[in-house]
């Protein structure tokens, strides 16, 4: 926000511009700036710095809703289904998450249910080797549902704590591919007692308003319990998660910030809010 010190309409427009250029989206940006206007009047705020603080608070408040912790616990099989559109970072994130959970003492297994894309299985194999994670896979062209089924059997018989399922990227409007995902969900529901503990939607921080369509359609297809936002090490702010929290109540569980196995960290609302406005 500029070197302005006094409060006028131009300042509110600047706040709106900051939010829109951070991919927050027009509707949510206008809502937030109206809230700041309200509090400015009520609290008799008089400087740009104070307004910035209020905005930061309101964003952090919005993002604090929901459960930001991963729903895994010892003593049962925790199935985590990972979904999302093409190229967002699902496979890489599974490598990171699997490794992190293993460091935390969980027995982890991974399922290579992307049997479609060239070298998808090899890519996941490399990550699992790096992290020391067991991998269940078939061959390219195999039925992804069969891989999931086998992985569930193996995870149960080997008393695994967490099973991470990697799926092929798919655009949310491809009905036949979304049907394939629903089938995978049904198999997990049937074979793993109370179904997946988490269905995580992986979102690329460079994505614009289409992220809302992704959240909506993946939620409708398989139910989504949380988001992992990747590529936050770039210049994109990832503001779409505000609209996603607002409209679809999906909490962000992790942030991916690089291409190494340890570049995954927990989501902290205040931190994210601060970086959104810089």
């Amino acid at each position: 926000v500029s070197g302005k010190t006094q409060i006028d309409e131009e300042l509110f427009e600047e706040l709106e511009e900051t939010l829109i250029t951070a991919d927050v989206g027009v509707e949510t940006s206008v809502q937030l700036v109206d809230k700041v206007r309200e509090r400015t009047k009520k609290e008799k705020l008089s400087s740009a710095e104070e307004l910035q603080e209020v905005l930061k608070e309101e964003i952090a408040l919005l993002l604090s809703e929901g459960n930001h912790q991963l729903d895994v616990a010892k003593g049962r099989l925790n199935v985590i289904l990972v979904v999302g559109v093409n190229g967002v970072g699902k496979t890489t994130t599974i490598g990171k998450l699997g490794y992190s959970l293993k460091q935390q003492g969980y027995k982890v297994m991974v399922a290579a249910a992307d049997t479609f894309r060239a070298a998808a299985i090899e890519q996941l194999q490399t990550w699992c080797q790096r992290g020391g994670l067991e991998l269940i896979h078939h061959h390219e062209g195999a039925d992804p549902a069969a891989v999931v089924y086998d992985a569930l059997q193996a995870a149960q018989s080997r008393k695994v704590d967490v099973l991470l399922i990697d799926t092929a990227g798919r655009l949310q409007t491809k009905t036949n591919l979304m049907e394939e995902l629903k089938k995978i969900r049904r198999i997990i529901d049937r074979e793993s007692g109370d179904g997946p503990r988490e269905v995580l939607l992986v979102l690329d921080a460079t994505t614009g308003q289409n992220a809302l369509s992704q959240a909506r359609l993946f939620s409708e297809a398989t139910g989504v319990t949380g988001v992992i936002l990747t590529k936050t090490d770039g210049t994109a702010k990832g503001g779409v998660i505000l609209g996603i929290q607002n409209e679809y109540k999906l909490p962000v569980k992790y942030l991916g910030f690089g291409e190494t196995i340890d570049s995954l960290r927990e989501f902290i609302p205040e931190e994210f809010s601060a970086s959104l406005l810089t």
Binding site: E17, I20, T21, A22, D23, G25, V26, V85, N86, G87, V88, G89, F116, R117, A118, A119, E122, Q123, Q125, T126, W127, E140, L171, Q172, T173, K174, D204, T206, T207, G208, Q209, N210, A211, S213, K231, D233, G234, T235, A236, K237, V240, E259
Partner: protein, 292 residues
């Protein structure tokens, strides 16, 4: 859609004559909203709205159109013109091989688009060689090799222990020696703010003299598109853009942002995961899609 919204604004307008400033501003509020929702860059939207307002205010409403149709026509024309023409040509080197370099952020579709482009050029009678210059991403070389096999197009690789610059030079030398007239360099995805990796691309350019440096951009990219395009253009000088994943429902406003900030044409669009899903870029279709 935007046409209906503008029609609604003008429905109380009686008679024709000239468009007043007040009428145009009301319509422009809707256009601004539509462009921002479509992910067009904030600054690009501002400039566009100013330009179109200037052209629309005081303009005579044509006999055959309603005021709303007149505004929509101006907006659509300006947008289409901004998107550039249909230029899906790869400039060829005077002396083969022609070198094409594919660059862009992680996951944008470079490897898939490299294979698609090779297939497209092979159909046009060229003899392409794919070069696996991504030594970082696990199984990246394997991915390109699998695609090359599917297309019966050779893939040059020196494994993942050599530098991408050496691989690119090796690919060019291999092409000259073995009669390939086109080399397509698939590079690793990288952040535009990663100085070391951007320098690597500058080195490849310096040593391989590509005829075309194409920025591969994911059509769902939001406001960050300007930052990425600007930096890649500054560092390398781009010759064109490939916009991928347009087979989804993203409005694709990044197309306008990238064109506005680099001045370079969008040459192709990725319309699916299959290797035949590469199409020329149609500016008028893109304009309609962005407006919604």
């Amino acid at each position: 859609n935007i046409s209906e919204k503008i029609q609604a604004i003008f429905k109380n307008l009686r008679g024709k004559g000239k468009l007043t400033e007040k009428d145009v501003q009301a319509a422009m509020r809707e256009v601004r909203l539509a462009l921002l929702e479509a992910d067009v860059s904030y600054k690009v939207v501002k400039e566009f709205i100013n330009k179109v307002t200037e052209r629309a205010v005081g303009s005579e409403v044509l006999e055959s159109l309603t005021p709303a149709q007149q505004v929509i026509k101006i907006v659509h024309e300006e947008l289409t013109q901004l998107m550039g023409g249909t230029q899906s040509k790869i400039s060829l080197a005077a002396k083969p091989p022609t070198v094409v370099m594919m660059v862009g952020l992680q996951g944008s579709g470079k490897t898939t688009s490299s294979a698609k482009l090779a297939r497209h050029m092979k159909k046009q009678g060229k003899s392409p060689l794919l070069a696996a210059c991504d030594v970082y991403r696990p199984a990246a070389i394997k991915q390109l090799q699998v695609l090359g096999e599917q297309l019966d197009i050779p893939v040059f690789s020196l494994g993942d222990k050599q530098s991408p610059v050496d691989i690119a030079r090796g690919a060019r030398a291999h092409a000259e020696k073995n009669g390939f007239d086109l080399v397509i360099l698939d590079t690793a995805g990288r952040l535009h703010i990663d100085e070391e990796l951007m320098e690597e691309l500058a080195q490849i350019k310096q040593q391989c003299h590509p005829q075309e440096i194409l920025l591969v951009v994911d059509a769902m990219t939001g406001q960050d598109a300007v930052n990425v395009a600007e930096k890649f253009n500054q560092t390398l000088g781009l010759d064109g853009v490939i916009l991928t994943k347009l087979d989804g429902d993203t409005r694709g406003g990044a197309a306008l942002s990238v064109k506005a900030v680099t001045g370079q044409p969008i040459k192709f669009t990725g319309m699916g995961e299959k290797l035949d899903a590469l199409e020329p870029f149609y500016p008028d279709r893109m304009a309609s899609r962005i407006l919604g």
